[in-house]
Every structure is written in structure tokens, then in C-alpha cells.
Amino acid sequence: MTKSHRPPTFFVLGTLTCLLAVTILFAATFGAVQLRPDDIVRMTLNHLVGAGFTPTWRPQDEAIFFSIRLPRVAGAALVGAALATAGVLFQGLLRNPLADPYALGVSGGAALGGALGFLLSISFSVAGFSPVPVLAFFGALAAMSLVYGLAQSGGRAPVVTLLLAGFAVSAIMGYAVSFLLIVNDRLQLNLPRVYGWLLGGIAVTQWSQLGLAVLMVSVAVGAGWLLRHSLDALSLGEESAQELGVAVESDKRLVILLGSLLTGAAVALGGLIGFVGLFAPHVTRLVIGPRHGLLLPAAALVGAAFLVLADLLARAILAPTEIPVGILTALVGGPFFLWLLRRERREYRL
């Protein structure tokens, strides 16, 4: 079987992994302090394997690098991978090129959860996460369950109904957030913070936060990859997929669950960052084709690299001012979106 028109799997994944590593290294050198790549490598080796390099850097630099910058860059990579994977899953499920991780009510649910987190006077910490991201996570899951519940009847959830329910739930929850902002004193006083959180920004400060998130994201990405055959078949339509032996409704439920876990984790780590989940799957698909066996891991790597770069720009362009990273992804993603719409007219279909 000739694969002359598709780049081989190992080549693609190998290249993308190298690209991601280089991007991470690049992003790690820049920030308030510019570190030298070789210093970084030596610092890391010292830390990881106890290699005894004599420091050519200040203790401040080491503190900045390991405690502040690296968790953040790692967080950006993780969020990017999670959002890209969720994007692939939802685009496969909904067979709609405009589908992104927030398509099924998640953005509204996460915003509402986050607003409630700002509202409540209880404070707790789960693996280093404060109430806002924890509640945003559960808000995302709750919204998605609500959407599925609304859309399904007799055990089946037609795609169009899912999309409509998702839109409605997101809109309603979004307005609920606005309503809360108006009637509640606490939130009123802190409007900029709430919106700042909503606009997105990698809020990873502790390695413990990453630990839990890495676990969740890798499990979900792995499970998504196991569903690759179903996703390929679903691109032919639900009836054809069923005729090819796919248990359509139960696989759809699984895809929705995985997508919501991934998106919830992403929101907990970085707020509502848009466009990555739309941009990474499409770009990857254009280059390597729609087969999910390769698309899923490749899009994850592309999304990770993209967000690491966006986050770098967010903290470096107007230093020391931090720009919410959601603004930067929109600046790149927006024009891409327009280009995609133009292309749509030439019958680009999922």
C-alpha cells in the first residue's frame, strides 16, 4: 500500500515533538529576565539528575526559571494540547468546521462557575487550585451534561440538537454571569479581575496544579486516540458510521465526556482561551489529512506549541504588563477564521 501522499506517522510526530521542544526552550529563555539556553539546560540537568554544573547564573534567575516561568510554559503547552484535542474531538463529533471546545455550553458553564468562585467567601485549595478554577471546571462539566440532557431523546442525541442546545445553554449562562455581576456587590467591585480571568491567562503557579492536570489530560487524550476509528467513521455521517459497526450513540457520549474533561482542565488552568481549539485542528488537518489516528496527537502538539508562543508574546510584548493570552490567540485566530470561511466556499468539509 503506497502512502506516497501522506507523510509517515513517525516523521510527523517526530518533527512536531522537536518543534514543540524548541518552542518551549525558546519561550523559556524569554521573559522579565533573558536566560541563555545553555544556562537553562545546565540548570535543568542540575535540578533533575543532580549534575554538578557550577552556576553561571544568579540564584534569582534559577528561582524565576523553575518556580515561575517553567510551570507557566508547561501549563501553556498542556492547555494548548488539551484545547486542540478537544477541538478535534468536537469537530469530529459535530461534523462542523466551526466547532470548538466551547461549542457545547462549556464557555457559559465555566464562566458561571468562575463567577460563583469569585462570589463565594469560602476558600479552599485542591491540589493548589483556588475556588475559581475548581468551580469553573465543574461548571464546564455541568453545562455539558445539561446540554447533552437537553439534546437527547430516546438515547439519541442528534448533532444539530446538540449544537443548538449548546448555543442556548452558553448564552443563558453567559447572561446569568452578567446578571450576577450587576446584582452582587462583591463582583461589582472586582469587575476587571473577573473579566481578566474570563479573557484567559495561564494561571499555573505550582507544580502540583500541573500534576493533576497532566494526569487528566493525558488520560483523556489517550482515550480519545482509542476512539480514532469511530471518529473517522463518524465523518461519513452517523448512519454510515453505524453501518460500519460503530456504536454511535455510546461513542458520542464518550467523546462528549472526554471533550468536557479536556476543556474543563484547560479552563481551570488558563481561563477561557479561544481559537486554539479551532485553529490547531484545522491547520493540522490541512497538512496531514483527516485520519484521527495521526490527527489527534499531531493537533495536540501543534496546539501546545501555538499556545506556548502566544503566552510568550502575552508576557513579553508589553513587558512588564501582561496581556491576557486570549487576546493574542484571537489576533492570530481571527484572521485565520476569516480565511477558513473563504475557503469554505470551495466546499471544504469535515
Binding site: L226, S235, S240, L244, G289, P290, E347, Y348, R349
Partner: protein, 271 residues
């Protein structure tokens, strides 16, 4: 010998409590034969195919494939025994022909590992049987309607089914491809012992290419048997509302269906 497909007293509805779309439909399809479903629009041809494909559960009656109750069969097992060639299906962009045909191996796909040698062979066989080897590395969305239909047929064959269901396989094809498609299907049926159930709207083509016919009207089987038995002017008038005159095909002897038009048609012979 157990018929590949058996439908007994099938009653089917689309919405529970709605009017039945099929009533008391009983039919069989055997290995090595091509059975045509004919009837006017809305007579239930597609519904019969849906029930036969296990996609629509009948409200009463039994459906069995090779003796196994269709309702009890796992989806994956069903997909290994029967394949469907739909009338139209969305085609994702960027897919190559070989990849599209390879999707036919989905019922056999392994969870963790990649395709086996057998999988690859099944794909190649399907491509060559349908005669589209030369198209294997082309993109599906760049093909013509006829070529695309053959790709979908190849995909169905890659499933290595025992029963093939076709819904209006000639609907969007030009004349040459209509004939080619049915040639192919009948050939496969005879060479590989495939049972074929196809909804066909062109009576002439059905007469030339099927071994048995089932005439449906308003969800009921009006008549089934050889084309000579089914294609009779009174039945066709009653079912289709169209007068026909039958004669014998000049080279093949099968029924030749001639429409008897109304007043506005052209005449070359005197009344």
C-alpha cells in the same frame, strides 16, 4: 440453505405511535442472487433497506441475517456481515480514495494496533474488483459522481460482507455508469456468492440485472418473483399509475418495458 437475509412480517414506523411505513413485509435474499426492490417514491424501499441494515428497528416482525436475529447482533458483528452502499453520503475533505476504502475495515479495526496484512489485502482486493486501482491515490472530493459511487462500493466490499444492500446505486450516474455499476454488482454476486438487495428505480435496468424483484406499494409487498412475473402491465398500472406495454428485449429476451405516454407525446406512427 439459510437465506442470507430474511424479513418476516415486518412492521416499521419512524415515530412511535406514527403511521406504519411498512406493513407485513416478508422477503428473502439468497447467496449469489441480486434482488431488486422496486416501487414508486414513498413506497418504503429505503425503509426496507434500513430495517435490513439493522439501522431501523421494526415495531414488529423478525429480521435475520444468516439465521441470526438482527436485533440481537452486536453492531460490529453486523458490520462484518452486511454492508450498505447509500444513495448519498457526505465525504470528508482531504481523504484519499485508498483511505476511504480502508474505512471499510472499521469493523475489524484493532484498538491499539494498526491495520493487519489481511486488512491491507482486503482494501487492495476491493479496489481492483471495482476497477479503481488507478484512482487509489486521488482525493475523493476530486472525483466525478460515478467514480465516487464506485469508491463507496469498494468501501462496502472492503468490509467483506455476505450481504450487500444498495440504495438507488444508479441514481446520480450517467447512462454508461449506471450500466457499469449494475454489471459490477451482478458480477460480484455471481463470482463471490454475495447476496444483494438493491432499491432500483429504473425498471429496465432492474429487469436486465436482477434475479428477483419485489414490488412495493405504500409499505406493502404487492408482488415478488422473477421480473417476468412482477413486471406486468396491470400491476405496474396499479402501483405506478402508469400504463406500459411489455415486449421482449431484442438481445437478452428479458422484459422490455415501454411506457405508454399520454396525449402530448410525439408520435411517428399513426394512431
Amino acid at each position: 440453505m439459510t437465506p442470507r437475509l430474511e424479513l418476516r412480517h415486518i412492521e416499521a414506523r419512524y415515530a412511535s405511535g406514527g403511521a406504519p411505513v411498512l406493513q407485513d413485509v416478508t422477503l428473502e435474499a439468497h447467496a449469489g442472487e441480486v434482488v431488486a426492490l422496486i416501487g414508486p417514491n414513498g413506497s418504503g424501499k429505503s425503509t426496507v433497506l434500513r430495517v435490513a441494515g439493522g439501522v431501523l428497528r421494526p415495531s414488529s416482525g423478525q429480521a435475520a441475517i444468516e439465521g441470526s436475529d438482527l436485533a440481537k447482533l452486536a453492531v460490529k458483528e453486523r458490520a462484518r456481515r452486511l454492508a450498505v452502499v447509500p444513495q448519498e453520503a457526505p465525504v470528508p475533505s482531504g481523504l484519499f480514495v485508498r483511505e476511504m476504502v480502508a474505512l471499510g475495515r472499521t469493523p475489524y479495526a484493532r484498538l491499539l494496533l494498526g491495520p493487519t496484512a489481511h486488512d491491507r489485502q482486503a482494501v487492495e482486493r476491493a479496489l481492483s474488483v471495482v476497477g479503481i486501482d488507478n484512482l487509489a491515490d486521488r482525493r475523493v472530493d476530486e472525483l466525478s459522481g460515478g467514480e465516487r459511487q464506485r469508491v463507496i462500493l469498494a468501501r462496502a466490499l472492503a468490509q467483506e460482507p455476505r450481504l450487500l444492500l444498495l440504495d438507488e446505486p444508479t441514481a446520480n450516474l450517467d447512462l454508461h455508469h449506471q450500466v457499469a455499476m449494475l454489471e459490477l454488482v451482478r458480477g460480484l454476486s455471481r463470482e463471490q456468492g454475495l447476496a444483494v438487495l438493491a432499491a432500483v428505480h429504473d425498471l429496465q435496468l432492474a429487469a436486465l440485472y436482477c434475479d428477483r424483484m419485489i414490488l412495493l406499494s405504500q409499505g406493502r409487498v404487492v408482488c415478488q418473483g422473477s421480473p417476468e412475473t412482477v413486471l406486468t402491465p396491470p400491476l405496474l398500472l396499479e402501483t405506478f399509475g402508469q400504463r406500459v406495454v411489455l415486449s421482449a428485449h431484442p438481445t437478452h429476451g428479458v422484459p422490455l418495458v415501454a411506457l405508454v405516454p399520454n396525449g402530448n407525446a410525439r408520435r411517428l406512427t399513426p394512431t
